[in-house]
Amino acid sequence: MTAPVLTVDGLTVETTEGQRIVDGLSFDLAPGEILGLVGESGSGKTVACRALMRLLPPRAMSITAGTVTLGADELTGLSDAQMRKVRGRRIGMIFQNPTAHLDPVMRIGDQIAEGVRLHEGVSRRAARARAVEALRQVGIPDPEARVDSYAHEFSGGMRQRAMIAVALACDPEVLIADEPTTALDVTVQAQILRLLMELRDRKGLSIILITHDLGVVAQTCDSIAVLYGGRLCERGPKREILGRPAHRYTEGLIRCQPTTAAGTGLLDTIPGQPPTLGDMPEGCRFHPRCPAATALCRATRPGTQPHGPGHVAACHHPATLKEPA
């Protein structure tokens, strides 16, 4: 068992009003692992990853507990100057909307070279060569010419590739991908997911893939962490989670997917609405929507229990575990 690249332990993010957006989140990321962070809007998946990067909006929310360990360094204790050396160099990040995260008046190549020059202090010429190489790696045709293009000259899929090139130019150990394909068409989504998997295979990159799409997770990830209302519901290897979900929320989420397989009846649904920040239920946060909720669930927060190899879940009444077929 290799040591994890990144360990998150009990990470808690609170707003200045004391509302917990992320509540005691823990997970490990092994070298070359793709972890899918799954949850609905407001489940805290994006805030958790921004907290890892220490990119929380100042004066609005802050990390109030927990540790984030990258290699030998504990990130939550670093100074801002030390953190700047981590951000972009050891952890890269890509976002949902490449158009909003690329500078419209700066050439693509310069945006890639900027980080390389800043972090590695190489010459302008060497940085440009690195930019061409980075574009080639993400599958942009004719990178020598494209390095001088602007973002608006690229299509949506190419912009997402360019943003990946910016994030990977300094060879980070970890890439955080926040809904990287949500804004893309399905055929282009397949291309970008394949690219991420190739980069993982080629460079041993570890990836945290934030998504709400269980289909994307099933096809690309090695392990899955399911978040609900800022807390971890369940975490484990992909096959365990999708094949033998223990938490009732995960089970419901899998059941309510309109899979492409034939079927004409009504869809299974999870009744009710996800909780909002100002109105988090006591006990297990899923209990108002849970078919198996009891008085225990309403009063007491469930602790995480092991459910199989590498598989933990925070549920008082886990779904009946079926033997794997």
Partner: protein, 342 residues
């Protein structure tokens, strides 16, 4: 047995003028919808699928007279509505409705849910003023909202609840046809199913026709009787949903179905996903618009005119390939992507 079609689009094109070029000399147009023919029967749900820029939303709006039709004709219940009389358009507005993608953006933030629904009833004079309140609560109940939701403004409703209000507004018209444009795309997965179920139940209860515009093929497969696949303004394939999904005839349909991520850890990503992006609708390639990305493209695909439509009872597709050439898809077995090369 079959009732006559409720809505007919015959060779409909929609063009938009584009900025740029020399003013007064070159007039550039973007042809968002390009010679589309489509019929919707009473009580039928038709899915319009395609990638962004394929013209599916523009077509939906053109069918409801919200976008002027440049060429071709739209008729509703036997009356021509595109370029038709004011009375025909009024009738179309009274008997059709639209549900939009952004549930918050489609509602007035200052009106409560009940006021928003009442507004529609009053504008269309659906019920006497004294019965508006009763009809509003009936409609809210029909879409699964509790009476107390009626007193709330959009800001204090969730996305799914706002979408239900949007649907209640559409139903207030007592429409025979609803065009739903990506109406679940902005919702959480656990809420999407609730809205889809609502549409399925309403269809049963109200004998409603539905044009369901979506990029999510899995939802279309569940909800729609027939599906039309659009690519760059044209319908490239149309037919009964199950037949199109299990035996796609157009290579684009096949690629689209193959690219849907399914929750099956044993079904990997396609080894060779479709290359490239859809081209800009302003610079349409000659011939079949799909040929630059098509693994089957031959020389005759590259020249004008585009390939003739092939038909079979209930189905049609625009491709030089005959039935059985594009490999049938199985949903459960691991993909060997080599199947598709001829």
């Amino acid at each position: 047995m079959k009732r006559p079609p409720l809505m007919i689009a015959d060779d409909v094109s929609v063009e938009f003028p584009v900025q740029g070029g020399v003013p007064g000399f070159s007039r550039r147009v973007l042809r968002a919808v390009n010679g589309v023919t489509l019929q919707v029967r009473p009580g039928e749900a038709v899915g319009l699928v395609g990638e962004s820029g394929s013209g599916k939303s523009t077509l939906g709006r053109a069918l409801l007279g919200l976008e002027p039709v440049t060429n071709g004709a739209v008729s509703f219940d036997g009356t021509r509505v595109s370029g038709g009389t004011r009375a025909a358009l009024d009738r179309l507005r009274r008997e059709t409705a639209m549900v939009f993608q952004d549930p918050y953006g489609a509602l007035n933030p200052r009106l409560t849910a009940a006021q928003a629904v009442a507004e529609v009833l009053e504008v269309h004079r659906k019920v006497p003023r004294s019965e508006v309140a009763a009809r509003v609560s009936e409609l809210l109940e029909l879409v699964g909202l509790r009476p107390e939701h009626g007193t709330r403004r959009p800001a204090s409703l969730s996305g799914g609840q706002c979408q239900r209000v949007g649907i209640a507004r559409a139903l207030a018209v007592e429409p025979r046809l609803i065009v739903a444009d990506e109406c679940v795309a902005a919702l959480d997965v656990s809420i999407q199913g609730q809205i889809i179920n609502l549409f399925m139940e309403l269809r049963e209860q109200l004998d409603l026709s539905l044009i369901f515009i979506a990029h999510d093929l899995a939802i279309v497969r569940r909800l729609c009787d027939r599906v039309a696949v659009m690519y760059l303004g044209r319908i490239v394939e149309e037919g009964p949903t199950e037949q199109v999904f299990t035996d796609p005839r157009h290579p684009y349909t096949a690629a689209l179905i193959r690219a849907i991520p399914e929750i099956d850890p044993d079904r990997p990503l396609p080894a060779t996903p479709l290359d490239g992006d859809p081209p800009s609708p302003m610079r349409l390639p000659p011939g079949c618009a799909f040929h630059p990305r098509c693994p089957h493209a031959r020389s005759e695909c590259r020249g004008d005119p585009p390939p003739a439509e092939r038909t079979e009872p209930g189905r049609r597709w625009s491709c030089i390939l005959g039935p059985g050439t594009v490999a049938p898809l199985t949903t459960k077995q691991p993909e060997t992507d080599r199947e598709e090369t001829p």
